[in-house]
C-alpha cells in the first residue's frame, strides 16, 4: 500500500506523464460516449455532398461518400479502445501465464517449449502471420485480434519469465513452499502479483502497438471489417489526397497521433516510476 502511494506520488510529479494520462482519460470518455450511444452515431449515413468543406453541418467536412468526417473520427475512438483493450488485456494475460509457468519450471522441458513457441512466433514475419490468420478465419471480424494476441504475448512472456525466475528463489517463496502450499497457489497468490509492474507497462506498450497495427491492417484490407476506424479513414484518404482533399487524412491522423502520444507519455512515466534507477538519470 505504501509503495502504491509512493508510485502515485512519483507519477503525479511527472508532468508529461500526467498530461498523457489526461489525454487517455479524455479519449476514454469519448469512447464511453460512443458506447452509450450519445456520440458519433451518425458515422455511416451518406447524406451530404462529397468532399464538403468544414462547416456547421459537418465540422470536419465530408469524405468521398459524403459522410461526416467528424462523426467518423469520434466513432473511431470506440473502435480503437475496443481493439487496444481486447488485445492488450488478452496478450498480457497470456504472456503472464505462459511466462510465469516457464519461469517457475525454469530450465525444464516446460520452459523449453514456451521459449520455443515464442521463438517460432517471433521468426514469422508479422504481417504474413496476420494475413494468414485472417485467411484461416475467413471473414471473422476478430481474426485481427487473434493474430495480434498470438504474437504480442511473447515480449511480456519473456519479461515475466525472467522476473519469476528471480522471485522464485526469494525467501517468502521458499517459506510458502516449506509450509506445503501447492505450486499453483504460490504462483497465483505470491509470484504473479509481484510481476504487476511489468504487466502494467507491457499492457500500455501493447495497447499502442495494437492501435498502430490496426491502421496498417485496415489499409491492407485485413483489419476492421464492419464499422469505422482511423485505419479505414486513412485507407480512404489515400484515394482522396491525390485529388487534393485532405480533411479525412488530417482528422484521422490527428486523432490517432494525440492518443498515441498520450499513451506513450503515460507508458514512459510508468516505466520511470517503477524503475527508479532509470528515472534518477
Amino acid at each position: 500500500m505504501g509503495s502504491d502511494l509512493r508510485l502515485w506520488g512519483q507519477l503525479r510529479a511527472d508532468k508529461a506523464g500526467m498530461a498523457g494520462l489526461l489525454v487517455v482519460a479524455a479519449y476514454f470518455l469519448l469512447a464511453v460516449g460512443v458506447w452509450a450511444g450519445m456520440l458519433g452515431q451518425d458515422w455511416s449515413s451518406a447524406g451530404g455532398d462529397r468532399w464538403a468543406s468544414p462547416g456547421a453541418e459537418a465540422w470536419f467536412g465530408t469524405n468521398l461518400l459524403g459522410q461526416d468526417i467528424f462523426q467518423r473520427s469520434i466513432y473511431s475512438v470506440r473502435t480503437a479502445f475496443e481493439i487496444g483493450l481486447v488485445v492488450s488485456v488478452l496478450s498480457t494475460l497470456l504472456g503472464a501465464i505462459l511466462g510465469a509457468v516457464a519461469g517457475w519450471y525454469g530450465k525444464t522441458w516446460v520452459d523449453g517449449s514456451v521459449l520455443w513457441l515464442a521463438g517460432v512466433l517471433d521468426s514469422i514475419p508479422f504481417y504474413l502471420f496476420v494475413a494468414a490468420v485472417a485467411f484461416a478465419l475467413q471473414g471473422k471480424p476478430w481474426a485481427m485480434h487473434v493474430a495480434m494476441v498470438a504474437t504480442f504475448w511473447t515480449g511480456t512472456g519473456r519479461l515475466v519469465r525472467a522476473e519469476v525466475m528471480k522471485i522464485k528463489s526469494r525467501e517468502f517463496i521458499l517459506s510458502a513452499r516449506a509450509i506445503g502450499l501447492p505450486d499453483l497457489v504460490i504462483l497465483a497468490r505470491h509470484v504473479l502479483p509481484n510481476t504487476g509492474h511489468i504487466l502494467l507497462i507491457q499492457a500500455s506498450i501493447v495497447f499502442v502497438a495494437a492501435i498502430k497495427t490496426e491502421v496498417i491492417l485496415s489499409f491492407l484490407g485485413l483489419g476492421v471489417q464492419d464499422g469505422v476506424s482511423w485505419g479505414l479513414m486513412l485507407a480512404e484518404s489515400t484515394q482522396e489526397v491525390l485529388a487534393g482533399h485532405f480533411n479525412n487524412f488530417i482528422a484521422a491522423s490527428a486523432m490517432l497521433f494525440v492518443l498515441l502520444m498520450g499513451f506513450n507519455q503515460l507508458s514512459d512515466a510508468l516505466q520511470d516510476a517503477f524503475d527508479p534507477r532509470e528515472a534518477a538519470l
Binding site: S123, G221, L234, L260
Partner: protein, 312 residues
C-alpha cells in the same frame, strides 16, 4: 563444438516450428483452390481428381512432410496464379526489395546510434530531452500517415512535386535515387524513434559502469570515452538488434511500402500470394525467411566472437 551443435539443434527446432505453423495456417486452413481450377459444372469425379492432384485427400502429416521435402530439396514449383517458376519470381523481386530497403535500414540505424550517443553525452540536458521528445513523436505516428504525408508533400503538386508518385522504373543511379528517396525517408522516420530509444538505453547503461568511471578518473575526454569505451562495449546489443531486424524489415516492412507505392518486390508478391492463396510462392517465402533467420542467428554468434572474445 558443443556450442555449435546446440545452436544447430536449436535452429532446426525453430525451422520445424515455423514451417509447422505456417503450413497449418496457410495450407491446411488456407484457401481451397479446387473451385478455381475445375471448370464450370464439374462432375464429382473431376472435383475428386483435382483434389487428388492438389494433395487435398492426404492426411495432415503426409502433406506436411511433403511440404518439408519440397522446401529442403528446393523444389519450389511454379506460381498458381501466373504459372511462372517461383525461383524466377524470387530472382526478380528480391533484388528490388534489397535495393529499396537497404538505404533506409542503414540510415535509420546509423541515425539512431548517432542520436543515442548524443543523448547519452548530454544526458539530462535539454538536447537529451529534445531527442527524447523527437523519438516519442516518431513512435506516435503511424507508418501509413508518414507515407501518405511524404507522398503528398514530396510527390504531388500540393507539395514540392519532386519525385514520382508511385512505381519503380529504375534504369540507373539517377532513376534509382528518384524512386528510392520517398520510401527511404518514410522508413528512416518510422524506425529512428525506436532505434534511438533502444541505443540510448544501451549506451546509458554502459556509461554507468565502473570502468567508465575509472577512465574518467584517468582524465580521458568525454568524446573518447563515448567512442572508445561506450560504443565499443555496446557492439554486442547493437549487432543483435541490427542483424535480427534484417529478415523482419525485409519482408514485413517492405510489404506496406511496396503495396503503397506499387513496387514489384518480394513484399508485394508475398502479399498478393496470401490473398490469392498462391501456395507455392508462400511456401518459398516463409521457408526462406525461416532459414534466413536461422542463418542470421548463427552469423550473429560468429560476429559476437569477433567483437567480444569472452563469448565462447
Amino acid at each position: 563444438m558443443n556450442f555449435a551443435l546446440r545452436k544447430l539443434a536449436h535452429g532446426g527446432l525453430l525451422i520445424l516450428g515455423v514451417t509447422l505453423i505456417s503450413f497449418s495456417l496457410m495450407v491446411w486452413f488456407g484457401p481451397d483452390q479446387t473451385y478455381s481450377l475445375v471448370g464450370k459444372n464439374a462432375s464429382a469425379e473431376q472435383i475428386a481428381e483435382i483434389r487428388k492432384q492438389l494433395g487435398y485427400d492426404q492426411p495432415f502429416i503426409e502433406r506436411y512432410v511433403s511440404y518439408l521435402t519440397d522446401l529442403f530439396t528446393l523444389n519450389l514449383g511454379a506460381s498458381n496464379s501466373s504459372g511462372e517458376a517461383v525461383s524466377n519470381i524470387l530472382k526478380k523481386t528480391i533484388p528490388v526489395t534489397i535495393q529499396l530497403m537497404i538505404p533506409g535500414f542503414i540510415l535509420g540505424n546509423l541515425l539512431g546510434i548517432a542520436l543515442g550517443l548524443l543523448a547519452t553525452y548530454r544526458k539530462g540536458r535539454w538536447i537529451d530531452r529534445l531527442i527524447n521528445g523527437f523519438s516519442v513523436t516518431s513512435m506516435s505516428i503511424s507508418f501509413l500517415v508518414v507515407i501518405i504525408f511524404l507522398q503528398v508533400f514530396l510527390c504531388t503538386p500540393y507539395g514540392l512535386n519532386l519525385f514520382p508518385v508511385r512505381g519503380w522504373q529504375v534504369t540507373g543511379l539517377s532513376s534509382y535515387l528518384l524512386y528510392v528517396t520517398v520510401p527511404t525517408l518514410s522508413l528512416v522516420f518510422i524506425t529512428v524513434g525506436y532505434n534511438t530509444r533502444f541505443y540510448r538505453a544501451v549506451f546509458v547503461e554502459e556509461a554507468g559502469k565502473d570502468h567508465i568511471r575509472t577512465a574518467r578518473a584517468f582524465g580521458a575526454s568525454p568524446a573518447s570515452i563515448l567512442w572508445r569505451h561506450v560504443l565499443k562495449n555496446s557492439l554486442v546489443p547493437i549487432t543483435t538488434r541490427f542483424m535480427f531486424s534484417i529478415p523482419l524489415i525485409v519482408v514485413s516492412g517492405s510489404l506496406l511500402i511496396e503495396s503503397y507505392f506499387g513496387i514489384p518486390g518480394i513484399g508485394k508478391v508475398t502479399f498478393d500470394a496470401i490473398t490469392n492463396g498462391d501456395q507455392p510462392v508462400l511456401k518459398a517465402v516463409v521457408g526462406l525467411t525461416a532459414v534466413a533467420f536461422i542463418f542470421i542467428q548463427v552469423l550473429t554468434d560468429m560476429i559476437y566472437k569477433l567483437i567480444d572474445p569472452r563469448i565462447a
